[in-house]
């Protein structure tokens, strides 16, 4: 029983990380319509930044996050402005390959700059254990989890209630018409990409204290984040949260009770099965909605 509870807790905490990474991706995928295969690399960059700020200036991740996040927002804006925007009119497939190129580039740039070493941000507070009834978790993971939830709520509010959110949703649907009615499309794409990148950055900083960083540290997250986004429903931030938690739980449960070597297989299997049952994702709207939204 305790094993089950502990497994579930571990899974949900892990799922929080997935959700955190996935919401940013969701924004980019949903609005800018780019399958960003470099999303994991954005996380990786933030992890390096966290590490260096901690090692060089002893800046705690929970402080440096306020520096890194805006910087990464800017980085996202630059990426959009100089790499993605000129491609905006190309077919989605073409754009995929630009981001793939970007991912190869960033991974290897990190290798060129920092070498293959594994670096860890060892922030003691984050490593302390919090334990209730024999179930334990570190502060670092709990923080990441809570921030994920807060962020998703914030983003949900942003998309549904604010003008910016409505504009982003309109862009997601039909960018040409949005431009026609006077919305500065390019500016909002910069915003969306910047926000998405900032989300990735927040994720990177928060996992810094418990995940080592190396050039390929982010690569693994990209596919998982896509799985989460698709499961949760495109453009659905709450869906990403729940999808992330769900997958985290599936992964650890499968690992503990089936075989750790097969835990990823279980995740992918669940992904494909869910898609078959509900192609629009668990929390996607009605089929009609999904169709309109994804045109």
């Amino acid at each position: 029983m305790n094993l089950l509870v502990q497994t579930l807790v571990a899974g949900l905490l892990l799922g929080g990380v997935y959700a955190l990474i996935a919401v940013g991706l969701n924004l980019i995928f949903g609005v800018v319509k780019i399958i960003n295969f470099a999303h994991g690399e954005l996380v990786m960059i933030a992890m390096y930044a966290t590490f260096w700020m901690w090692t060089a200036w002893s800046l705690s991740p929970y402080i440096s996050i306020f520096i890194i996040t805006p910087l990464m927002f800017g980085f996202g804006v630059l990426l959009q402005r100089f790499i993605l925007q000129p491609m905006q009119n190309s077919s989605p497939t073409i754009k995929i390959f630009v981001t793939l190129g970007l991912s190869v580039l960033l991974q290897n740039l990190a290798l060129v700059l920092f070498g293959g070493q594994y670096r860890s941000t060892t922030f003691p507070w984050a490593e302390q254990n919090f334990s209730v009834l024999g179930v334990t978790a570190t502060y670092g993971r709990i923080t990441a989890f809570l921030v994920a939830i807060a962020l998703v709520i914030a983003l949900f509010y942003l998309m549904k209630k604010t003008l910016t959110g409505k504009v982003l949703r309109a862009l997601a649907e039909d960018r040409e018409t949005a431009g026609l009615i006077g919305i500065p499309v390019k500016k909002y794409y910069l915003v969306a990409m910047g926000l998405g990148t900032a989300m990735a950055a927040i994720a990177g900083v928060l996992i810094g204290p418990f995940q080592s960083v190396f050039p390929l540290a982010g690569a693994h997250f990209t596919l998982l984040a896509f799985v989460v986004v698709v499961l949760g429903g495109l453009g659905n931030m709450a869906g990403s949260l729940i999808g992330g938690l769900f997958l985290g739980a599936v992964e650890t449960l499968a690992g503990t009770y089936i075989d750790p070597a097969l835990q990823q297989v279980a995740v992918f299997a669940v992904f494909i099965i869910v898609l078959l049952v509900r192609p629009q994702g668990i929390f996607g709207g009605s089929a009609r909605n999904a169709e309109v939204g994804l045109k």
Binding site: L163, R169, E173, L180, I181, G182, I183, P184, G285, N289
Partner: protein, 234 residues
């Protein structure tokens, strides 16, 4: 107020406009007519800035806006309601309207503008929270025009305004256009209902194969042999 001089335009390598000129004044309805593929929609696209003019000029209130962005033009009051309505289907009716008012959002009068649109289209008020994509064609056209009005246009260009609308609605749309024009807006309509269109407009232009062929008052056009022959079929 809006003056289009000798524009030409291309889609890739294919020329769509060769030499189109037109001018509209402060208010009233102006009809832009022509057979299929003449370049009417293309002309509107050039005017609203989504398609660049290869040559020629577009001026608005004396200002040359040939290279201005669509946003700048909307801010100036040049608003385009595209063919096929092009609503944001997953957004509610109200959100669609609000986005139409994006450019004027800073004056904080969006609320009252919204109310006026609802007054004009009470049906939309009923459906304000419904996803626009689920409306019927006629309702969608209302939202499209309403969205255009939200931008407080000085010139409102409506492409294929009555396409796919029930006769009842078509009638409503035509009288609506007249009403809008009475409020000091110039409405430029592209229409296939030539007779109805000329009946409500005071001016008209006929484009054929990317060239302005005829320009004149509605009356003149109604009486011209060309129009009777090629558009009215009698």
């Amino acid at each position: 107020m809006l003056q289009v001089k000798n524009i030409s335009a291309y889609y890739g390598d294919a020329q769509a406009l060769e030499n189109v000129s037109l001018a509209v004044s402060e208010s009233g309805v102006v009809a832009l007519l022509g057979p299929n593929a003449a370049g009417k929609s293309t002309t509107l696209r050039v005017i609203s800035g989504i398609l660049p003019a290869a040559s020629g000029s577009v001026t608005f209130n004396g200002e040359d806006i040939t290279t201005a962005s669509p946003q700048e033009r909307v801010e100036l009051g040049l608003v385009h309601v595209p063919e096929g309505r092009k609503l944001f289907g997953t957004l509610s009716v109200e959100d669609n309207l609000l986005l139409g008012g994006y450019c004027g959002r800073k004056d904080r009068k969006t609320g009252s503008r919204l109310e006026r649109v609802y007054e004009r289209f009470p049906k939309l008020k009923e459906r304000r929270n419904q996803d626009a994509g689920l409306l019927s064609g006629g309702e969608q056209q209302m939202v499209a025009v309403g969205r255009g009005l939200m931008a407080q246009p000085k010139v409102l260009m409506i492409d294929e305004m009555s396409l796919g609308l029930a006769p009842l609605i078509v009638k409503q749309m035509f009288s609506l256009v007249q009403e809008i024009a009475l409020e000091g807006v110039c409405v430029l309509i592209v229409e296939q209902h030539v007779q109805n269109a000329l009946a409500v407009s005071h001016h008209g232009f006929i484009i054929e194969s990317g060239v302005t062929r005829v320009a004149g008052t509605a009356q003149e056009l109604m009486e011209s042999a060309l129009v009777r022959e090629s558009y009215l079929g009698h």
